[in-house]
């Protein structure tokens, strides 16, 4: 690719490399922002996922080892896909948190190394804000209520006065964690993701089994549902009949679990939309790539005279490009993360970030 400064002597675009590894996905992406219009162009978006065997989850130490082993390969691929030279890159963005400690640290160390090696500035990014900004950029949703649903987070968010404010959230485990752990009960494959395989199985489900429904105002809880779903799964595996004497299949349980937890998510989102008077809703995070959830959200939004915005797995599921994008937005407002402060943290709330790039 041509040198950006060659013809005019003035930069036409800014380029950031983003590194994400807060959970089992290692993602590195390169993004360019037009200096004048601010328009974002995805130059590359490479991801490598640590997939654990069916019936198990991913442990922090194994995941961290995976990220360390694949970082160089993924970074090289991202650079060659993007076709940019190291000299063209303005900053290195990395996930500061929230996430799993081990994997976060591995990637932060790698990002720091790149910054020192290439003499670039570092930008630490909040993972959740990365999801939100990428979702907005891809869908063009101006000021939506955001439902952020993944293996680690469940939040209903609305923007107000330079913060992404959390209106509702899961009181215990995240919805994606509930789905992931349910998948283990039936040893459903983790490849490409347990949630994806539950979604496919659920399409054959016919019987709606009663599960707890736990919404408290704009918050919700998933641990009780998981416990009950696991109990039912154990019964199905033993060949026992359901609570009403019906013959249940794993597909029925996947279907029932999805219908129940998604109804809860749509309900709390609707409440937040009514509260702030919004009609647009944006779904981000890995669970957001579920088509059934998108359809349910669409039906709710349509009734309120609005619409749902969602992205596909490239941007919904953790990726490096969203970290590059959100990091570059902050970089353009003058934000930097000095080397001595380039730490990472497991706890980092969405509303802690000062969103200087929005009005």
């Amino acid at each position: 690719m041509a040198n950006d400064t060659a013809t005019t002597g003035k930069k036409k675009r800014r380029i950031a490399l983003g590194c994400e590894g807060s959970a089992n996905k290692l993602g590195i992406g390169v993004i360019a922002h037009d200096v004048e219009t601010g328009a974002a162009t995805v130059l590359s978006n490479v991801r490598h996922t640590f997939v654990s065997p069916p019936g198990t989850g991913f442990l922090p130490k194994d995941t961290a080892r995976h990220h360390r082993a694949f970082f160089v390969r993924v970074a090289k691929q991202a650079l060659s896909d993007a076709g940019v030279r190291i000299a063209d890159i303005d900053c290195i963005c990395y996930t500061r948190g929230p996430g799993m400690g081990g994997p976060l640290t591995s990637v932060a160390v790698a990002a720091r190394t790149l910054a020192l090696l290439w003499g670039k500035e570092l930008v630490g990014v909040n993972h959740c804000v990365g999801h939100i900004e990428m979702g907005r950029a891809i869908t063009g949703a101006e000021n939506p209520v955001v439902l952020y649903v993944s293996g680690g987070n469940t939040q209903v968010i609305a923007y107000a006065e330079q913060r992404y404010r959390i209106f509702g959230e899961a009181l215990d485990i995240a919805v994606g964690n509930c789905l992931d752990r349910f998948a283990r009960a039936f040893e459903i494959s983790n490849d490409p993701a347990p949630g994806y395989n539950i979604e496919q199985l659920a399409k054959q489900g016919r019987v709606l089994v009663e599960l707890p429904y736990a919404v408290k105002g704009m918050d919700c809880s998933f641990s009780g549902i998981l416990t009950r779903a696991e109990e039912l799964a154990a019964q199905v595996k033993r060949g026992q009949k359901g609570p009403e004497g019906e013959l249940l299949t794993p597909a029925d349980l996947c279907f029932s679990l999805q219908e129940t937890v998604f109804a809860m998510l749509v309900e709390i989102t609707e409440r937040a939309m009514a509260h702030v008077g919004a009609s647009q809703v944006l779904i981000v995070g890995g669970v957001g790539s579920n088509i059934r959830l998108q359809d349910m959200m669409g039906a709710m939004a349509a009734e309120r005279g609005g619409s749902v915005y969602a992205t596909d797995e490239r941007f919904c599921i953790d990726n490096g490009i969203m970290i590059a994008h959100a990091g570059l937005l902050a970089y353009e407002t003058g934000f930097r993360t000095p080397l001595e402060e380039s730490t990472c943290t497991q706890r980092f709330r969405t509303d802690e970030v000062f969103v200087k790039w929005r009005k």
């Binding site: 807060s22 959970a23 948190g97 929230p98 996430g99 799993m100 976060l104 993972h127 680690g152 987070n153 959230e169 009181l171 709606l208 009663e210 429904y213 408290k216 105002g217 219908e259 129940t260 109804a263 749509v266 309900e267 609707e270 409440r271 939309m273 009514a274 509260h275 359809d295 349910m296 959200m297 039906a299 709710m300 009734e303 497991q346 706890r347 980092f348 709330r349 969405t350």
Partner: protein, 260 residues
Amino acid sequence: MATEFPLPRVLTYPASAPPSLIAQGAEGRLYKTTHLHADRPCALKYRPPKPYRHPILDARLTKARIAAEAKVLDRCYREGVPVPVVYALDAAAGWLMIEWIEGIPVRQGINEWLGERPEDDAPPAEDLDETPIVDLMKRIGQAVGSLHRTGVIHGDLTTSNMMLRPRPQGSEPEADAKKKAVAGDVILIDFGLATQSSSDEDRAVDLYVLERAFASTHPRAERLFSHVLEAYKHSFKKAHSVLIKLEDVRMRGRKRSMLG
């Protein structure tokens, strides 16, 4: 308000007065109509089916929620908590008919009292007699106290979910407009999120929700909130330990440290 929504069947019977849509929330719709007599106004809470939910799940939730709300209201009414009386319900059809409460929301009364007072919670003028507003705060504290004594948690206490019902005429000396704004009986409404519990924790969270809502709705009257808690403290035996728990809840806030 124009009724562009299809009416629930109960409102199409000739026995009820032509309904008017009063409010449309995320949960459902509130209509004003009459019950049995043309001169007996009532509120009809209707939870329409949600198209996004599986029909079986939708029917189950609607039925359970209408029934729960009616049960809580009935319990409160029998125990003397100031709430609307339940006239009728059809949980499966998703509606609940309750007493119509005349008057204005407490939020409006407080704002009328505060009027054009200077910003920033300035101390009141020397000559201003605060007795009427302080008295209202006490009535709020007593109402919430009686609710909690009954074993009910409201779940969404705000000054919009309390009404000020005027007392019968002639029962009180004529007051000026400002005093009138904060006069009347406090009636608690909207029990859509109510649960039954007698734990200090749940009661304290209920109070905390009210405290936060009060502070954000009436920042200029925030200092008056202490009178609510003071009256609450004397309203039932266990109120004291609830207020101690409230300290913990305040410290904790709504913020939960987030694990990735």
